[in-house]
Amino acid sequence: MKEIGKGAKLKTLTKLEEFVLLAILNLKENAYLVTIQEYLEKQAANSLSFGTLHVLLRRLEHAELIKHYVGEATAKRGGKAIKFYEITKVGVAALKEIEKVNSAMWVNFSELN
C-alpha cells in the first residue's frame, strides 16, 4: 500500500484505524469521541476505551487523515465544547485506496456462496 499522508507517521492503516475513519465518515457532522465509540461498538462490536480511541484519533490527526473543529459549548457536558472530527482529502484518498484493495482481494468471494 502506498504511503498515506504527508507528515505521516502511519505507513499503513490498521483495521482499527480504518474503522475509525469509516465511523467518522458515516457519522457526518456528529463525529466526536462519544459517538465514534458508540458507533464502533454497535457496528463492529468493538468496545474501545476512551483512552485508546483518543490516542487513535490523535495519531490519525497527526497523519493528517482527519482534522478537528471545536463546536459550541453545551450544557449537557458540564458546559464544555465538543471536539468534532471530519475526514480530510488525504483521509478520503486513503479510504479509497483501501476500498480498491479490498474489492480486489474479495472479488471472487460471492461465488463461494
Binding site: 476505551s49 476512551f50 485508546t52 490516542v55
Partner: protein, 872 residues
Amino acid sequence: MSGNSKIWWFTRLLLKSFMDNYDFYFLSGDLEEVYLNKKTKNGKFAAETWLLFQVIISLPPILTDNLFWSLSMLKSYIKIAYRNIIKNKVYSFINIFGLSIGLTCCLIIFLFVKYELSFDSFHSKADQIYRINSNSKTPDGISKESCTRFPLANTIRNDFPQLEAVTHVFVQTGVQLEVDEKTFSQDDIIFADTSFFNVFDYEFVLGSPDGMFKNPGDAVLTETTANKLFGDESPLGKTFTLNKQLVFNVAGVIKDPPQNSSLPVQMFASIYALTNEFAGIDLDSWGQLHSGSRTYILLPENTNIESIEKQLPEFMKKNFPPEIVERSKYVFQPLKEIHVNTEYGADSLNYTTSMETIVIFSIVGLLTLLIASINFINLSIAQSIKRAKEVGMRKVIGANRNQLFRQFMGETFVYTLCSFLISVLLANLLMPYAGNYLGNNSELSLFDSWEIGFYLLGVFIIVNLLTGFYPSIILSRFNPIEAFRNKITGKKTGVFSLRNGLVVFQFVISQILIVSTIIVSYQLEYVKNKDLGFNKQKIVTVDLPDINDVSKFKVYKNKLLQNTNISDVSLSGGAPLSDLVVNTFFSKIPEEGEERFNVWLKPVDENYIKTFGLKLLAGEPFKEHGEGDTVYKFVINETMMKKLGITDPEKAVGQKFKFSRVVGQVQGVVKDFHTASLQSEIKSVALSNMYQKFFMQAQVKIKTLDDKAVIDYMKSAWEDLFPDYTFNFNYLEEYINNLYSVEENFFNIIKVFAVLAILIGCLGLIGLVSFVTIQKTKEIGVRKVLGASVSNILTIISKEFTINVLFANLIAWPVAWYFMNGWLQGFAYRVSIEWWMFAAAGLAALIITLITVSFQSVKAAYSNPVEALKYE
C-alpha cells in the same frame, strides 16, 4: 466538572498528568457527557463505576502514546543540547569534566566497597558458615582470639549432632617445601580435615573432594602452586616433603581461589599428618593453643545460630573445668563478617577492613558525587541566565512549562551521559592503580557482573535527576516578558541564596577534608618519628631456622661478628617491637590470690640490650648464659615495675615475683620502649636469657652505608651453616613503618579526595563568579564610569566569596574536629589538635578561592563600561 466529587478529582489527577490541557478539556467533556447519561439512566453508583473503569483502562494507551511522543521530542532536545555544548565549549568542558571526576571517584569507591564486602561470599553456603572464636577474660581486659584448641572440633561434632558439618583447620605459612632436589618456601598452607570440602567450596580441576584428606598423605594444590612445583607436568600422584619430615602425595588440584577470602590458600594438606614431631602439635591435647588453629561450623539450612548458642553454656559446663568456663566463652562469627571485623584482626590470615573504613569510604564517595552534582547545578544555572531569551522565545511560540522542563532535562541527560561514559572508561582504566593505591589489590572491573550494570543505571538516573531537576525548574519558570527585558538576574527567583548555600556546602566539605589531611599527616609524621625507646636504624632481622640448636645459632652469630661492618648481633625471640610475642603472666609474691598481670616475655641474649640501645635505669645487663644458671633473672621495663608496685628502679633490683610457673628475680630495669604500634599502650615486658630455645631471630646492626655487601656476607654465612633453609631478612625500620599501612592508606585517600573536592569546588566557583559578574555587569559599568579602579571592583566581587568561605569554615571546623578527634583516639600516643591546623586549612581555602575568583573577575573589572551599558 460536575461538582467536587472525589471521582472527578481522581480522574483529573490521573489523566491530566499525562495530557496537555487542550486535549484534557475535550476528553473530560466526552467523559462527562457519558457519565451524566449513565447517571440519569442507571444511577450514580453505576455511572461512577463506569467512569473509574474507563479512566483506568484508558491510562495504558495514553501512557504509551506519551512515551512515543517524548522519545521523538528527545531527538530534538539532544540535537539542541549538542549545539549548546559546541557553542559553549569551555562551560561544557568544565561541566562534563567536573561531573566525570565525581562519577569516577564514586564508581571506584563503589567497586572498592563491593570488593571489601564480597569476602568469602564465593562459598555457596557462606551464609550458613560460622567461625568459632574464643573470648577470654584476662587482667588487661577481654582477649579476643579466632584460634581455638585442637580437640574443639571433635567435641563440638559430638555434642551438636544437628550441625551439618564441623571442620578444623590448621594454617601455616613460610614452610620449607622440597620437590626432588629443589626447595621452596611455601606460604598459606591449610591443613584440613575430611569435612573441609563439605563446608567450603573450591573448584577441582583434577581429583575430587570426596574422601579427600582421609589419607594423612593427601595434599591439594592450587593451579599456581602446582605450576610452581611441577611445571607443566601433571602433578597428580607426585610427592613432596614439608620441613624435611612430612611426605605428601598430590591428590587433587583446584582452580586458584578468589583473593577475597579470609582463608588465603596456596596448598591444602591433610591435618592428620600433623604430629608431635612436626611443629610439636598434638591434635588430641587441650593444652596447646596455636594461632594457626581454626574451627568452622556449617549450620543446616533454615536454622538459627541462636539455637546453637543457647546450648553453649551447657556444652561448656560439660566439657571444661569451672575456672575455664568462668573465664572464657566461645563466640560464633558469621564467615562473611570475618573480613570486616577488626576485633579478631590481630591473628587474621588475610588483612581485615573495619566497617568504619568502609562506611567512611562510601560517605566520601557519595560526597564527591554530591559536590560534583552541586557544581553541575551551579554551572547550569549560571548558564541558564544566558539562555533566558531562548526560553522566552520558546514560550512565546507556544512551548509550555512541561515541554521546557523536559527539554532541559534532556540536555542534562546528554551532559550526564557524556560524563558517565567518560567516567566508566576512566574508572575501569584506573581501577588496577586504585586497587593498588587503596591497598586491597582488588581485581574488580565495572564489567564483571550484571549487578554492577543495575548500579550504574541507578547512579545514572539519580545523577540525572539530581543535576537536571532544579535547573530545569528554574529555567522553565522564566517569564518571557522579563526575559526579553533583561530583567532576569536570578535574584528574584531566590536562586541566588540557594546557590550560595550549595557553594557554602562545597566549601564545608573541602574544608573538612583539608583539616583532616593536615591532622592525619601530622599524626603519621609523629608516629614515624617518635622515639620508640630503642634503636631501629640499620638493624636487619634474620629469621632463624626451625631447629632447636642454640649452639648452631651462636656459631652463626660469631661468624657475623667477625665482619667489621657489623657492630652488634643479638639472638632473641624478637625485636623490641615485633609481632613475635610470647604472652604469659606474672604476679607479686608472696600472697596467694595476688592479681595476675599479662606480660610479654622477650627471650634474649647478652647482646640484646646493647644492640637496641635500651636504656638500663638500674641493675645489670645480662651476661652470657651459663650451664649452671638456675635462677630466672629478668630485666623488666618500667611498666612492669609499676605493676609490681615499685616506683624506684634501684629498689626494684633483686625483687622476686612469680613468673608463669617459676619464681623470677629482677636483675635490672630498662626504660619503657614501645612494644607495638603507637595505637596501643606500652605493655609489661620481661627480658630474660633463660629461654634460649625460643630464639626465633637474629638482629644484626650494620655499621656501613653499603648494606648489600653485608647482607651478601650474612647470606653466604647462612648457606654454609643452614644449607637446607632459606635465608629471610627484613629491615626493622621498614617493618615498623609498615605497621601504619592502614593509616597510610587512609591518608592517601583523604589526600586525593581533598584535592578532588578542591578541584571540583574551584570549577564551581568559576561558574558562580561568572554568574555574579554577569549579574553585576551594569553595576560594574556604572562604578567604572564613576571612577572605580580595577582593585575596587575586584574587592566588591571577592567580598561575597570571602564571607562564604569564612562562614563555611565555621561550620566545617567543629565537624572536622569531631571526626579527627575520634580517629586520633585509635592511637594511644597521638598529637594534640592545635588551633593553627584549622587556621592553616582556612587560610589555604581562602587563598585558593581568591585566586579562582580573581581569575574570572579580573576580566569583568577590565571590561569596557561602554560595552556593559550600551544595551540600556
